[in-house]
Symmetry: D2
């Protein structure tokens, strides 16, 4: 067993990050040490890299970021009972406190005291990462390595799509970043009968078409409300999954949902948005849900079942595969908007 | 049978209304003619009287307003089978089309083509009113006459309170007009364990106390957020029923609801309201519902059962009883905010 | 317009039926006269033909049976507003009373006073059939004629599958008559990840394979409980859809459902069945649902959406297409168990 | 701190039990040692005492029984963080594994590997009992000591009543042992509008009346089905809570539930029961639920809220208070059926 490893390290409170040698982390009695095989990059990682306002408030360097990954168990504490060396695993990186009202009533995904590995503690952009046993998710070897590394954002999609009825429903997905794109696949697999993907970026729109959205609409060029109305017999869609977090997109969600429909909000925005509550919510009798993380661990069972059954083709979303040492280049690719989901290999792309 | 009757008539597109003799309305094969015993006055009636912007857009005089009442069946069309002369009845005044998606899937309360008797057609501020058989609600004689005349707003309260779990929950009711006040009684009867009534008007606050709210808070004088936090162990309330429609009140709803809680919105507002979707909805993982009318006819069964069982004491809300000819005086009493629910007797108070 | 038509007629209280000329039925002000294009045969029709105990108690000849069909509107009463001549339609043949508790609370499929066209009144094994406007279901011309004729049993399947969560679930379907077979397609389309079809009849088992059940098990030859346990990691299935109504099949449903799972019962049986409530229901914490008919009209919207989206391939279930005059031969084919769904064409197979 | 304590001990695999001095139990790093203030006796304890067939299969003496209690924290392991000395506590005595499918999806009450303290490990009929920190429930000092000792069976009642809608519903409770009696109080508090208590034992029926059931029916003397039909307008009850586990009682549940109603089964029975699935479940479109234990920890929050709000008067159910040394006498009182809930004080009744 080596004592040092390669990792992406944010050393100080400033933009950027370095790929360098650090000590392999130590682990406690209830922890598992995992050798990372593949990690993937989230928009959050770009915020941390760019050191934007959110990052300045939340992140305390030095920090190894990274919260999407899969790997292999290499060691564990003496109280760990459910894994063995060589197990193929991923992990829920939201570590819930287990003691608050939400945790004790099956709502750990909105724990009051959550800590996120890769945000509040050293994460997975490294050769090794430490995970509490409770948060380890054992994987069937049948699940492809690449898919195993993106279970965190796929779980966001599954949680959002299945937060209400979806079978035999029309659904609009506003915003086609990776989670929005995954949601197309999940909604299709779960019986959505008409899927509208709404996206301004042409790279993303192209992938939405590959994911088999029934309609891909560009709000900069088309009257989304009119097209949705026409394609839904004037009703609007049964369900909107809001994945962009942009004021225009959120506004549009309320415009295109039908009376009695559901809007599930996942996309974050720092800007306040103005709504006419009477027209937008009350007269239409709609339901609006805030969606956070993944249900522990119902969402994990669901996505495992969908993946094992071969119900999801996620390949179009994975646009880049890089060696971890090229992390800064990955940040560029995300900034230009050309990349969707980028996979990072600690020991080089295999 | 007489041929004319006394009614409150709005003759033209202008403020005010007259109490005068008009013809008794004719009825069709599927209609029921009801002799009104008691009607009650809604805020909507004040809008119509004052001829505000909403009324100017919606109302087409001449019109007899009035959509809350009870009475006695005096005649009916030849296809009517479910009532007989002398039956004690009230009615759902939202006449749903029966043919739209919402109507055909159990959501008639958000019908796309709804007509409201007393708003879109002649209503109940009259000695007689015509109601389609489908909308008649037969009443047990055990239900007090006064309560029978306020089933429409009581139904709003029942629909809102029971739109999600309420037993063993803490609940805040923002806005203590009649529907808010009724909601206190309904929430108590259905197992809410801690009820916060939030209201600036002292007349209304006094009634909220009589309705046995556990805490009556005045946002103009108290830090509602702080008091609610203190009384809920720092959590916030499980449920908020928003009954005011005021921007400050809606804002407050999002401040005091706990993570994972429910906000049910009933109070209408014409002003846009600004929200921080990330902080107010998404991170908290809450559910926001738009509430409209009453479920046809589940809400009616529910309120009948609660009333028959003696579970609701609504008397404090009924502040005024007047002869119909004093209708303009009733409008004044509502305008000053001294009255809560005003009952109107077509043939004088008995 | 002709005055007589060909129909399958059960003239007296005895086994059998005749195909003969009868008068075209008259219709009322709220009725629609439909020219039948294709009808399909249900097990119920075989009970009526064979004049078994159930039929002797329920059926009052003379009767034209048949409650699964599609056709074209040819005439209608003067109060009908929602159809026009030439419309392509099917119909919900359960005519609910509209006035009982269940009808008034969105549960018309369990109406206390339901009448079934084709059972309690003349049905669709005829060139023409009369349907109340309220029960007409207008069809998109994009829906294939053959599928349009089997919406009644397809609706049973959709109602059963979607009576609870199905996405990302394992599901067992006990009994592969037409509704069981349709359920395989519906469950697959709505995201079931592992489908066990359980059937003793080899003809039906073969079709279950064509419908792409993941496992087709013969309880006469295999230890169903053991196989299901093995294939579900020892858990049992999340959902059982009981479609056989046979005591062994119902028994098996309770054996193979997992702790916390759902059993939805559709298959009818006249025999009492013995259960150990503690072991079979209580300790496992399961939910058992009785399923009846189709939700009016949510199920119809759902199946229309699934069909229009091309989500369902039902062809393997349609084994026979016959001219209506060969009705007795169809009865034989069903009795031997060689046929699954038989379509009947009033004017000969086209 | 003493080293020995008084306890009810079942020393061998035979009927009976002894009250004697034993060692105070040791506790682990994650355990809490609680000084028992009051314990209460469950029917299970009588089975263990009588050494019936169930006990012979499940219990491995030596064992200290007892799984309903409250007390005071006196010591705890070094990893315990959420309690302090002197805390007033009760506990969930079902110790769930935390690792099975059910535990990881919010259904720990049906854990596959549950161990029950007082059944599978030494329990609370003793001066001290050891409880894992995860299962400790901290109590507000405002909750009366006596009520704090019966949270386990009260939780069964709360879980059963709130397993579906109860507000504005009619409900029948079949079987008025302590849990059935508690259910009367809980259903009333949560808005049930008409409560039928069905019980043959006159002692229990008398308490049901004190608990304010609207109707107390003796199936040995009255035609329960007829009375329920008459009192519910011919519908039957909306909800049945089956608390007796007797074949006649379970049979009756299916007879009196209305179309579309709910039956929640809690009462255990070792005998198989015969049902006509078509008539009893399918045509009526009902839902049948198996209920087990208490939801961890939603039920505990719910009952705490109800108790703190003073919504439940449970005193009539507590018929006996005894010193722990009189345990054999308590067993007699339960056997004769004269006692309902018996409280046991380790250090004598105070």
């Amino acid at each position: 067993m080596p004592t040092s490893m390669l990792a992406v390290m944010k050393p100080t409170s400033a933009p950027g990050a370095e790929v360098r040698e650090v000590k392999i982390p130590t682990f406690g009695r209830t922890d598992v040490l995992v050798k990372v095989k593949v990690a993937s990059i989230c928009g959050t990682d770009l915020h941390i890299y760019n050191w934007d306002r959110w990052a300045q408030n939340r992140i305390h360097p030095p920090l190894i970021p990274g919260h999407e990954f899969c790997g292999e168990v290499v060691a564990f504490g003496d109280e760990v009972t459910s894994v063995k060396e060589g197990d193929f695993v991923s992990a829920e990186m939201h570590v819930a406190c287990g003691k608050c009202l939400q945790c004790r009533t099956g709502e750990a995904h909105i724990c009051q005291n959550v800590k996120i590995i890769g945000v509040d503690a050293d994460g997975a952009f490294a050769e090794y990462v430490v995970i509490p046993e409770s948060n380890i998710w054992k994987l069937d070897p049948a699940i492809p390595l690449e898919y195993a590394s993106i279970l965190d954002p796929l779980g966001n999609a599954v949680h959002t799509v299945l937060a209400g009825d979806i079978a035999a429903k029309s659904v609009a997905i506003t915003g086609c970043g990776p989670i929005g794109l995954f949601s197309i696949a999940v909604a299709r697999a779960c019986g959505a009968t008409s899927i509208f993907a709404i996206e301004v970026n042409e790279h993303r729109a192209a992938i939405a078409r590959q994911m088999k959205a029934d309609y891909v609409l560009n709000p900069a060029k088309e009257d989304v409300r009119a097209v949705v109305a026409e394609r839904t017999g004037g009703q609007g869609v049964d369900v909107v999954l809001e994945m962009a977090g942009h004021p225009d997109s959120i506004r549009s969600a309320f415009d295109i949902v039908r009376r009695g429909g559901r809007i599930s909000l996942l996309g974050l925005t720092s800007k306040p948005i103005s709504l006419n509550f009477s027209e937008d919510i009350i007269f239409k009798g709609i339901t609006v849900q805030g969606i956070n993380g993944r249900r522990m661990y119902q969402t994990w069972y669901q996505m495992t079942a969908l993946l094992k059954a071969g119900k999801l083709d996620l390949h179009p979303v994975i646009t880049d595969r890089m060696s971890m040492k090229d992390f800064p280049k990955a940040m560029e690719r995300l900034t230009t908007g050309e990349a969707s989901k980028i996979l990072v290999y600690p020991n080089g792309v295999r």
